[in-house]
Amino acid sequence: MSSDWTDHGEGTTNPGETGPDAEVASPTVECCIDNLDPDSRQEIEASEASVDIRYCLQRCGRCYKQPFFVVDGEALTGADHATLLETLESGVTHDA
């Protein structure tokens, strides 16, 4: 990705490892703060998963309806965020 000036994610929780030097490509996982209750957020922040918790991922309907992460740009849904974390740990986020 080229741009006139690139901020390489200074201080962000998970800029992702997308460069050519990344040994194993970690998925970029994004989560909306409005999709979390306080306990779920604590659980995610305490986990080893690298989840970028942000405001509004522009997926308001899904966000209103059910727990979800966005993994490398694709929605991953589950019964709760603990299940989503387990799915991330298993490394199987595409089951279709």
């Binding site: 000036w5 200074e10 994004e30 942000r54 405001y55 522009q58 308001c60 209103y64 694709e74 986020t93």
Partner: protein, 535 residues
């Protein structure tokens, strides 16, 4: 000075660095050669404000600042005009001014955003922009445009098996299985514009709004004084342009389904907003096309002012709510750290008697100031207790300085302050409780209409600018910058060098400035703690 008609125009997401009146620090903008001849023509006769900053971000908080003079992001987020607010239209109306609103801005009318149009004597709403809840036909939506606005029609998605099965069973299976349950699905736009002709720009939004404005100017007579408010939603995404604008800044086929016109916000190097160089170049070209399209149709409004000989009795204010990152700093959109490409906005003011006409003003000014300015131009007074400081002394040539600081940011996130030469970004501390203050039980975050109550909500007269009791409800916060950042925007307008470590004395000065600003604003106690500022 005499009382004037006021034409107050906002163009959404208009990056100032794409206008001829302002320089761009970014080579790609210069190389593209974006054409804005009408705004350039206007700027030559108006006052150009070179140090104007947004306040409350994004779109609707900016509208409430303009409308009410309240810098809301220290107290609440995206939401309605409050019962205790006094709007521009109400103040003008009470001063005997005819008021009219022309807009294609759906958010003024959607759930949770009441109060933005009701005070005008008349309003017209051009339907269909973004996800306006308008057309439900045709059933078979345009597959190419569906892809361009963000749908993956190849179904190679990370859905659960059950969801994909549901999708396959859905006769309208090209759509996401949750789309019929979605609150703001992007297919709304595809159906809204299904009958638009790409070769006929008069079908599109800026053309419709500005044409109606020109007609209104040509046909409105008999009233002593008027306020015409034009709230144009273009340049806002989707960046879906008619010709000739769609092909003006690219050699690509603008209807190639592989090329996006509605990017997700985020970092461009990974995640949902990841873009290839080709995709980003295309998005930039369509954004630029929309800028030129807006300029073209804005020119029709200027033509109407010419034809009706209205310039001598009309003040014209043109601004934007925020900019939009197009790959700079590694981000796309406006939900990013609040770099100047988002926060430093264009502002032009035409006043027939202004001694500074045709000149550039360097004074630091803020979006919230436009409330008192418009009222002053109309000869009306703003309420005591607002945060708005009229620019009329500058317009009259009686002052060259205006503000020592401008605050800007998103409620629930980081705060920024500028003195006009430096910008200082301070992260919100997520472990400090964040509160929303409002008369309504609102979710400032989507989907705007919560169906259940919030634990621990309190009511009381918490606000320094009204004695009306409000709800105080706790919400989550999220930082984007995580660490303080300092930029010397005079020497480094691209904001490429964070000098917070190497410039401790300037950092301390900016912290003092932020502290003073928050104290002047009588910000809630927790706000000081959220940003690590002593009282």
């Amino acid at each position: 000075m005499r009382d004037l008609n006021v034409l107050f125009i906002s163009v959404d997401s208009l990056r100032r660095d794409m206008l001829g009146a302002y320089d761009s620090p970014f080579d790609w903008v210069t190389d593209l050669g974006v054409e804005t001849p009408n705004l350039d023509r206007f700027a030559e006769k108006a006052i150009t404000f070179d140090n104007h900053y947004a306040g409350s971000l994004p779109c609707m908080p900016a509208r409430r600042e303009w409308d009410t003079g309240i810098q809301e992001f220290l107290w609440r987020g995206w939401g309605p005009i409050e019962a205790y607010d006094t709007t521009l239209a109400e103040k003008a109306r009470n001063n005997g001014v005819l008021t009219k609103l022309l807009t294609d801005h759906f958010h003024l009318f959607q759930h949770g955003s009441s109060g933005y149009y009701e005070d005008y004597h008349g309003f017209e709403f051009v339907r269909g922009h973004e996800d306006d809840l308008w057309r439900t036909q045709p059933y078979e939506a345009d597959e190419d445009l569906l892809q361009q606005v963000g749908y993956d029609l190849d179904s190679d998605r990370a859905e659960t098996t059950a969801e994909v099965t549901d999708a396959a069973a859905n006769p309208n299976h090209v759509l996401d299985p949750y789309d019929l349950g979605h609150y703001r699905p992007r297919w709304k736009y595809v159906r809204n514009v299904a009958e638009f002709d790409d070769e006929d720009e008069t079908d599109f939004f800026a053309a419709k709004v500005f044409s109606r404005a020109a007609d209104w100017l040509r046909t409105t007579s008999g009233w002593d004084q008027w306020l015409l408010r034009i709230d144009e939603f273009d340049v806002h995404e989707p960046f879906h342009c008619p010709e000739p604008y769609a092909s003006m800044y690219t050699d690509e086929d603008p209807r190639d389904p592989e090329l996006p016109v509605w990017p997700y916000y985020g970092r461009t190097d990974g995640g949902q907003a990841a873009l290839t160089d080709r995709e980003l170049a295309f998005i930039r070209s369509q954004f630029a096309g929309k800028v030129t399209m807006v300029d073209t149709w804005l020119g029709r409004v200027f033509d109407a002012l010419d034809a009706q000989d209205l310039w001598d009795e009309t003040a014209v204010v043109i601004t934007s709510d925020h900019g939009f990152l197009l790959g700079e700093h590694g981000w796309i959109g406006k939900m990013s750290p609040d770099f100047d490409l988002v926060a430093q906005t264009p502002l032009f003011v035409w006043h027939p008697d202004a001694p500074a006409s045709g000149k550039t003003v360097e004074a630091l000014t803020s979006a919230v100031d436009l409330h008192a300015t418009v009222l002053d131009l109309l000869g009306a007074e703003s309420d005591a207790g607002t945060h708005s400081e009229s620019l009329l002394p500058i317009i009259q040539g009686e002052a060259t300085e205006h503000r020592d600081w401008a605050l800007y940011g998103w409620w629930h996130s980081d705060i920024n302050v500028t003195d006009g030469t430096h910008t200082y970004m301070t992260p919100i501390q997520e472990d400090v409780p964040l509160y929303n203050y409002s008369t309504t039980q609102m979710s400032a975050q989507s989907p705007f209409t919560p169906t259940s109550g919030y634990e621990g909500a309190e009511s009381g007269a918490f606000l320094p600018y009204t004695d009306v009791p409000v709800w105080r409800q706790q919400y989550p916060s999220a930082s984007l910058v995580r660490q303080p950042r300092l930029y010397d925007t005079d020497a480094d307008p691209r904001q490429s060098d964070n000098i917070v470590t190497e410039s401790p004395s300037v950092t301390a000065e900016m912290e003092d400035l932020l502290q003073g600003a928050l104290e002047t604003m009588a910000a809630p106690e927790e706000v000081f703690e959220q940003y690590g500022i002593d009282r």
